[in-house]
């Protein structure tokens, strides 16, 4: 009899405890989800840009996730760097200096990106050629849809480029 009473109590305890744990888990999950970026923020995290709008030799800045993305269309005589070029003529790089995060400027006459903070220089392909930057300008994840580039989604071209 006594044993039975205890096991009944245990059962109630486990049932209650288990149910409470489920409730707690649900509450924590909901709390976790509230901190995720809002739908509008997520939507703005993927940016589409029509590459054909850029004329040869021209550089355009696209805003993506609060950062500038440089889209440069190379002219045939500009230095080619096949492993960093999209569709054979576009250089798409994150406009954040890899040294300390300043924003470099495009100098069309010298065909370089020059960082005003510490004098770092990158060539037209975004490869560091002078000064303190430790590595070339980063390439944002992208996907190609015809003439349009989708920033924020990694497509096969991007993965191939990252491997190469």
């Amino acid at each position: 009899m006594a044993e039975e009473k205890v096991s009944r109590r245990d059962f109630l305890l486990y049932a209650m405890g288990g149910w409470a744990a489920v409730g707690l888990g649900g509450v924590l999950y909901a709390m976790y989800k509230t901190w995720e970026p809002l739908p509008e923020v997520k939507a703005a995290g993927v940016v589409k840009f029509d590459l054909s709008k850029v004329k040869p030799g021209q550089m355009k800045v696209v805003q993506w996730r609060g950062k500038p993305v440089f889209v440069l269309r190379l002219t045939p005589e500009m230095k080619k760097c096949s492993n960093r070029v999209i569709k054979g003529e576009y250089v798409v790089v994150l406009g954040i200096c890899t040294h300390l995060g300043c924003i470099p400027n495009w100098e069309p006459d010298r065909q370089i990106f020059k960082c005003p903070c510490h004098g770092g220089e990158y060539d037209a392909c975004g490869v560091n050629t002078f000064g303190p930057p430790p590595r070339p300008l980063d390439i944002p994840p992208f996907k190609i849809e015809g003439n349009t580039i989708v920033l924020g989604e990694a497509g096969p071209e991007y993965e191939k480029m990252m491997k190469g």
Binding site: W35, E36, P37, V41, R65, C117
Partner: protein
Amino acid sequence: MEKKGGFMGWLDKRLAVDSLWKVMMSEYYLPKNINFLWSFGVLTMLVFVILVISGIFVLMYYKPDSHMAFDSVNKTIMMDVAYGWVFRHTHAVAASIMFLVLFVHMGRGIYYGSYKAPREVVWVTGFILFVLMAATAFTGYLLPWGQMSYWAAQTITTLFSKIPFIGPDLVIWIRGNYIVEDATLTRFFALHVTLLPALILVFTAVHLYAVRIVGSNNEDGIPMTKEEKKEKGIPFWPVFMSKEYFVMSVFLLFFFFLVFFNYNFAMDPINFQPADYLQTPPHIYPEWYFLAFYEVLRGFFFSEALGLIAFVLSMFIPLFLPWLDTSPYPYVSGKHRPMFKVIWWIFVADFVALTILGKLPPTGLFAWIGFVTSIIYFIFFIALPIIAAIEKKKVATGGGR
């Protein structure tokens, strides 16, 4: 127990306020061999009260919105609200001075071995309070939404992205955006004014309760029972507090001198430019109280991962002091530990050096000095168990005094 009438008697029957008062105040005895450094604990409470009161008043006009925050601080509070500037300067200076008082309070605890058995819980709760204060200071620093606010938050949250596997997603979750933005500001605001101060209150209560159970340490680290302290010592109320009032008065003179005449150290000029996510200030540095830890992060300049590990370690290693250093009486207080004294003063000098280096550009010679000083910081914690082992041996062979 004597019989009391009136309101207090009525209340005592219902809340036992008499017993509470005795345990917390009038029958909590302190030894006489303590010095003025023992007054810094109550000073942290004083500064916390100042922070809460000044905080409530700036809260009445502050707008936690990325479009309105900067102006609500720099225009509304500073220019439009009558005496608003007093509350803002008081809040900013108090945040800074809190860390000065905390460092002295913690330094006293380390030097006199106050973290040792049986005071581990006092040390651990105190350490948690330090971390909570740091979190409160960090979240609060973003709220004026100036350039330094913004880039400090951007830099520190970026550190989370270096955590393996989950890092990049974690940092977006913390910010609620791909960069520090409105969502970040508002959640930091919520934490700064609700959860963090509430946790500070809870841990302060446990901290004070714990110190009343195990009693205060003393300059010589002599273990004393409550009876011995009652016989030879002084009660917290009214004797200790009457001395404390004097210290408080001197402290408040110094504090309000800073608030009214020298508040600039707590108000970085770069922070009077509104936050701009496309423009990094050329030189970003934290407030002075985080510089030492920041320098440890930069000290390992040749490896980002190593710097990050060292940074986290440098902040959390003091938590383990009670278990790193377990030598018994007479080797409790640094006053009677020749070997400890040497590494302690090296540690203090090193902490000051790290703080100075933290604000200098991390190039050339400074980078190397930063590396060496970072290593010395850890040597203190590595040397403690060794020294404790030597001292334990001395005690076992009948050494000491």
